[in-house]
């Protein structure tokens, strides 16, 4: 078996992985990026509408800053997020966008003077100040107080990923394309690389590294109706889980995006609503104001998706041969706006629906979209249980999103996390902990184990079909572990997934084609995906409350008194039928923003006794500070700058804040 040595192995070639690789390379280390596909085809490219960063340049963004971005994100998370991580993120996002700007991303810019916007279906004229002319502009998105989503038409992720990939090429970072990590090499305490399969010729090889970073994105493909790319099968999270040592956090926290097109499930961006688009029902009636009089279509995604399903269940859905759906109406925005700022949406409607969205309504229904959970890490992206293992981006759970992510916070997180985790990996490699003391025999034994697993599949005569079992898993997840969850249905889903797990052990191949063999790929991914699905379904069953995107019809209230806790899943026994779940507490007494009402969604929740104590403490601290500026007040409540690499600690300059 070939063994390739490097300092830092990055698994995943999307925005987070490539930014982390650029960071370690700058610190004088060698790095290799593994990618299932050519890096520029990673799912980051599919982010359409925008990247959240509080630049505050355009009129709708005036007065925005890190404090607003922090508060929006914590409320969006339904208080499930780690607030220090959210602070680190909100503080670094403007730096991330400015770095990308220097690197070449053609962000849309503010045009001075009057222009028209669409609000509540009406055209309105606003005037942009001359001093903002040419600075990066932003658009409105759900769950935010300000227009904060910076964008490049509706190809934001594409433009960011191409710029990032080009910088990685400029830095001479090798990307080993069409490579799939099958397992992490470790000795029980220390991760030291991965066993990898070449998806062109089927060869197995080992990559040995001081630090290994999982940046493989989400695992939406465990669901049938998902906006995710077909490569988002969660193999990065799965191989971390299969170590038995690394934990996955909050796997039950799954986001459903309000506007997947029907029937293909392809996403049309939240920017449709941010720019003034409306949701209509079968009677062509706008219904969101009835449910959410304040935020309307622009409440957070979990709330809008739930309201849509509620409205369909109340008999207001449009009947079609593909089941029921609702309408997204972007006609009020006008053709000029659509053809300039929503180009991908227009193309998607044209090619997949045969309609012109400037004239016709778009059929939509919520679809699985994002995995808030993932590989549990500390503030530096480092696994607390397996040294040398790092994770960044959607695959990670350093826990920035809690139980619901805000639109535009994902691409922003990928770059911010890449900037931070790249530095922590470099620090780790340069420290005494970074030294590697493994024998090649360890790599050989892991390689041997993977070859045996593949051989066992090839030799199996059980007669089960991997494609069929995958479909059954996806059906189970979409039907029973979706937007509305219920104890009995979840119990049944767990049982079904366990049955599929047993059947998956009897999968046999009809083809033994040399090379990558797509059937073999489906066969070895299936049991890993089932493990992730079981983490989601079992975690959802155990969490007897409703928080963010996790909604239990039988426990409809958010319950802070028992559930201010993060779910941690491990899988120590490979033969076990269920993950081991443990919980870690979120300490309200250290929160800058104690739990409360989000400003949208349900108002009733069960309070934790610490909430009032913490609020009193905050009031007391702030009262004692007199006219201190916002930075000192924040620092007094919850310091976070010490957690950031030194070069990311500076204050962000803004039009209104030119200190």
């Amino acid at each position: 078996m070939q063994i390739i040595y490097t300092d830092v192995l990055v698994i995943g070639g999307g925005l987070a992985g490539q930014r982390a690789a650029i960071g370690v390379k700058r610190r004088g280390l060698e790095t290799i990026v593994l990618s299932l596909v050519p890096a520029k085809r990673s799912h980051s490219a599919a982010a359409q509408g925008g990247m959240q960063a509080s630049l505050g340049n355009c009129l709708g963004a005036a007065g925005d800053n890190e404090d607003c971005h922090f508060a929006d994100t914590v409320r969006g998370s339904d208080w499930g997020a780690d607030q220090q991580v959210v602070r680190m993120f909100a503080h670094t996002a403007p730096k991330a966008i400015r770095e990308l700007t220097a690197w070449g991303v053609p962000w849309n810019r503010v045009q001075r003077g009057e222009h028209q916007i669409t609000e509540d279906g009406q055209k309105k004229t606003v005037s942009e100040p001359a001093e903002a002319h040419g600075l990066i502009t932003s658009r409105n998105f759900g769950g935010t107080q300000k227009w904060r989503a910076c964008y490049v038409s509706d190809g934001t992720g594409h433009a960011m990923l191409y710029t990032m990939s080009n910088q990685a090429i400029a830095a001479n970072i090798p990307v080993h394309e069409r490579m799939e990590a099958l397992s992490l090499i470790h000795d029980g305490k220390r991760c030291c690389g991965a066993i990898v399969r070449n998806l062109i010729n089927g060869e197995i090889l080992a990559y040995v590294a001081k630090a290994t970073c999982i940046a493989t994105g989400g695992f939406g493909r465990i669901y049938r109706a998902s906006t995710n790319a077909i490569i988002n099968e969660g193999m990065g999270a799965a191989i971390a889980l299969e170590t038995g040592i690394a934990c996955l956090g909050n796997m039950e926290a799954i986001q459903f995006h309000p506007t997947g097109i029907v029937p293909a499930g392809i996403l049309v961006t939240e920017a449709c609503r941010g720019d003034g688009g409306l949701l209509l029902d079968a009677a062509n009636r706008r219904f969101m104001p009835d449910y959410e009089p304040d935020k309307k279509e622009l409440a957070s995604r979990d709330v809008v998706s739930r309201r849509m399903e509620e409205h369909i269940a109340a008999g207001h859905g449009v009947h079609s041969r593909f089941g029921e759906h609702l309408w997204l109406d972007i006609r009020p925005l006008g053709r000029v706006h659509i053809e300039r700022n929503l180009r991908e949406v227009k193309e998607i409607c044209h090619y997949f629906l045969g309609i012109d969205p400037a004239q016709e309504l778009i059929p939509v229904r919520p679809a699985q979209h994002y995995s808030m959970g993932g590989v549990r890490t500390d503030h530096h992206g480092h696994s607390p249980t397996l040294k040398g293992l790092f994770s960044a981006g959607e695959s990670a759970c350093w826990d920035m999103h809690g139980f619901n992510r805000l639109g535009g916070n994902s691409v922003a997180e990928t770059v911010v996390a890449g900037m931070i985790v790249g530095e922590s990996m470099a620090d780790f490699c340069h420290s005494t902990d970074g030294a590697l003391h493994i024998s090649t025999a360890l790599a050989e034994s892991f390689g041997c184990h993977e070859r045996q697993r593949l051989a066992a599949i090839a030799d199996c005569k059980g007669g089960e079909n991997a494609f069929e079992l995958t479909r059954l898993m996806q059906d189970t997840m979409t039907e029973q572990v979706g937007i509305f969850r219920h104890g009995e249905r979840l119990q049944d889903a767990v049982a079904r997934l366990q049955e599929l797990q047993r059947r998956a052990a009897r999968v046999s191949l009809r083809s033994n084609a040399p090379g990558a063999n797509p059937e073999l790929v489906a066969a070895y991914r299936l049991p890993r995906m089932l493990k992730l699905a079981l983490c989601v379904a079992f975690g959802a069953l155990q969490r007897t409350e409703s928080r963010g995107a996790h909604y239990r019809a039988d426990y409809p209230q958010r319950n802070d008194s028992t559930w201010m806790r993060r779910t941690l899943a491990t899988w120590p026994d490979p033969q076990a039928q269920l993950p081991v779940l443990t919980y870690e507490a979120l300490d309200i007494m250290h929160m800058e923003l104690p739990p409360g009402w989000r400003g949208y969604g349900a108002r009733d929740y069960i309070e934790h006794p610490d909430t009032i104590r913490r609020q009193q403490e905050i009031d007391r601290v702030l009262a004692g500070m007199g006219a201190a500026d916002r930075f000192s007040r924040q620092e007094a409540l919850m310091p976070f700058r010490h957690l950031l690499p030194e070069h990311l600690r500076g204050r962000n300059q803004r039009l209104g804040e030119k200190q």
């Binding site: 085809r41 600075l135 300059q653």
Partner: protein
């Protein structure tokens, strides 16, 4: 109002696929026929997956986003390069022939190694912003202003998804393996437009001022005709050629 595309009537599709597995010493390139019942809103993404799942599990092809965004699924459909994911079968005749994109290394069946080609092109044409001190960007200060219209013009060219359809449709690229194609020339046009890139026309001339660059184009215009993103490739090449003549 409900205009979700539906088939006119039930029909059977006859799909012939050019198959070859270079990793199998016994494999001989050949056309294999499959029959498939057409379904509502069926795309080639759905059709190919159904064939693989129910008829031949060894069939190789590439999809990633399945939404026309990532550029993975370029394939020859009845003689013309196209993105398979957004090709609806209802727009095709009963007989459909699929072949891998030419000019790229074959991985197997419909899967070709576009990634390797693209990386080579990027390295050769240095498709990144060239400027001083990129490693020490002041990320605390406000960004430099840019004219809104210019940003939009750059994005217009940046929309290329590197699917390879223009290369497959290019006469020169079929004859000369080192031709950078419309895709490469469009990249140069994109960076040339970007004030952040400090390269001059003399620098670009060094990269594309020969037969493997802008002077290799025979103006057959297959690139622009086949570009799934409708990029203005012909105009970019013509303009770039003039600038390069002047830069000499």
């Amino acid at each position: 109002m409900n205009r979700i595309p539906v088939k006119q009537m039930s029909r059977t599709l006859h799909i012939r696929i050019l198959r070859h597995n270079p990793h199998d010493p016994d494999s001989v390139p050949q056309l294999q026929s499959f029959e498939l019942e057409e379904a509502d809103t069926m795309t080639l993404f759905i059709a190919l997956n159904e064939i693989r799942q129910t008829q031949d599990p060894s069939l190789q092809f590439d999809f990633v986003c399945r939404a026309g965004i990532c550029g993975s699924c370029g394939v020859i459909v009845n003689g013309r390069p196209a993105l398979a994911c957004r090709t609806l079968t209802r727009d095709l005749p009963d007989n459909i022939t699929l072949a891998p994109l030419p000019a790229f290394e074959l991985i197997g069946d419909l899967s070709v190694n576009t990634g390797k080609w693209m990386r080579g092109m990027s390295e050769r044409l240095e498709t990144w912003v060239h400027t001083q001190n990129l490693e020490r960007v002041d990320i605390d200060s406000m960004e430099a202003a840019m004219e809104p219209e210019l940003a939009e013009k750059i994005y217009e060219l940046e929309r290329c998804i590197e699917c390879g359809c223009c290369i497959a449709a290019c006469g020169t690229a079929q004859m000369h393996a080192d031709f950078v194609g419309a895709m490469g020339l469009n990249q140069i046009a994109r960076f040339r437009l970007d004030p952040r890139d400090q390269r001059t026309d003399a620098d670009y001339y060094e990269l594309v001022g020969d037969e493997s660059g802008v002077f290799g184009c025979m103006t057959l215009l297959g690139c622009e005709d086949m570009c799934p993103k409708d990029l203005p490739l012909a105009a970019q090449i013509a303009f770039l050629r003039r600038r390069m003549v002047m830069a000499r």
